[in-house]
């Protein structure tokens, strides 16, 4: 006489509790986020390549190349790590629109170290990359000058040529220095 439907046979209270717990579980898992790792971009480094002043198509190594960050009148920072003698990647300050470095070459015969002050001026442009990376800085309207470090030192840098005035990545050579 009584038609028993399988849907009705589940206790209503039970199935509602089941549904509620599924919802709670889903809400809990939805709140877990994967760690956002920044892989989409970075603030670029300034890439400098050293060329021969006589034959301007040839790269020329700087013997005993050493570069230190310099805050003029205040501080000289640690050595900027470099892997080659004919090129270097320099970090620029994003809080200022110029950055100076002490750049020196050490000649073996006679044993002398020539230190020059290399200054780059630029405009800092923020660029939004992604949620994980946020903003990076690009440098525009790049200009470079070289000065004697001490009066006694001669200027070993003969010419600075800005190849790419907009620094957006660290893959290209932005500046050529002839010596």
């Amino acid at each position: 006489m009584f038609k028993i439907n399988h849907l009705n046979s589940i206790k209503p209270a039970k199935s509602i509790i089941l549904t509620l717990s599924i919802i709670l579980a889903l809400a809990y898992f939805a709140s877990c986020e994967k760690d956002d790792i920044c892989v989409d971009g970075d603030t670029p480094l300034l890439v400098i390549k050293f060329y021969d002043a006589e034959d301007t198509t040839m790269t020329k190594e700087v013997t005993g190349l050493q570069v230190n960050g310099l805050i003029i009148g205040e501080d000289t920072l640690d050595i900027v790590a470099n892997t080659a003698l004919d090129s270097i990647q320099l970090p620029l300050r994003t809080t200022e629109n110029n950055t100076s470095f002490l750049i020196s070459q050490t000649l073996s015969n006679p044993d002398t170290t020539l230190t020059n002050i290399l200054t780059f001026s630029y405009e800092v442009q923020p660029e939004f990359i992604s949620r994980a990376c946020g903003y990076v800085a690009n440098y525009n309207a790049l200009e470079g000058t070289a000065l004697r470090g001490v009066e006694a030192d001669s200027l070993w840098i003969q010419e600075i040529e800005i190849e790419i005035p907009l620094v957006e990545n660290s893959n290209e050579t932005h500046v050529k220095i002839f010596h």
Partner: protein, 268 residues
């Protein structure tokens, strides 16, 4: 639909008439109690948003929920809300300096969601609970303000302890909007007469999203939609609501026998 039901009744009536002559005397007559189900407008508020507003400094929000019963299973449903959230993003991963803060932004705006709910739950006598699946078309209008940002830089030479500050001037992106479709799965349980406690989870699919200049900022959070994931149009949300049913009229619940085919009736 209506025609289908009408013809069903005609067949049912006709078969009943044909069978009536051979029908034995029913010694155990069926329970003829009729339960009238309430129909009306249900309005309420989301409990989770005020609770989160109270517990967290960086969030304020509320949501009004409502539905109108159209039929045995079908409800018109809507949500209306406003949210303001401040988010501070920090660098994830291993190479985190002492202070990995990247940027700080605030999203504020309102949203409306309109759609239907379909109750899939077959209540026992006198019960008015529901387990429903539904769909919404949602629209949000909002602003984003970048309060400050720092330049992400994997080179730590000039600022070893934290990322160098880019700007701490507020930068506002206003007049932003987004449209999305939402799949809803939830339940509403009658606690006391006409008072319902509800819960739902929502999966949103972003249809359109008017963003600021991508070099300046992106829509990372949309009120009502929640976090916008890069490279995906999906978003997730939930609510826990308490609502009150304003009963307007009552209507008899169709019994299952009415819905079965004449052939099934004959077999009994």
């Amino acid at each position: 639909m209506l025609r289908y039901f009408t013809s069903l009744f005609v067949i049912w009536g006709a078969s009943g008439f044909l069978l009536s002559q051979s029908k034995p005397i029913d010694l155990q007559p069926k329970d003829t109690t009729v339960y009238n189900q309430p129909y009306g407008i249900r309005v309420g508020i989301d409990l989770s948003r005020p609770l989160v507003s109270f517990l967290q400094d960086n969030y304020t929000g509320f949501e009004i929920v409502g539905d109108y019963r159209l039929g045995q299973k079908l409800y018109l449903a809507a949500e209306l809300g406003n949210e303001k959230k401040n988010i501070v993003e920090e660098l994830g991963g291993e190479m985190v300096p002492n202070n990995g803060q990247l940027y700080d932004f605030t999203v504020s705006g309102s949203y409306i969601k309109l759609g239907v709910d379909l109750n899939t739950y077959d209540n026992w006598y006198g019960m008015n609970n529901s387990i429903f699946a539904g769909g919404r078309l949602a629209f949000a209008s909002f602003n984003q303000t970048v309060n400050n940002f720092r330049y992400y830089n994997s080179n730590r030479y000039w600022s070893p302890n934290e990322f160098a500050l880019g700007s701490d001037q507020e930068q506002e992106f206003s007049g932003l909007s987004a449209t999305w479709l939402e799949f809803v799965f939830g339940t509403k349980v009658e606690l006391f007469a006409n008072i319902y406690l509800g819960a739902s989870v929502r999966l949103g699919f972003l249809l359109s999203n008017s963003e600021p200049d991508p070099d300046e900022f992106k829509n990372l959070f949309i009120p009502g939609f929640n976090k916008v994931t890069e490279g995906s149009n999906f978003g997730v949300g939930y609510n826990f609501s308490i609502s009150y049913l304003i009963p307007l009229y009552k209507k008899t619940k169709k019994s299952r026998e009415d819905e079965s085919t004449p052939a099934e009736i004959e077999q009994q």
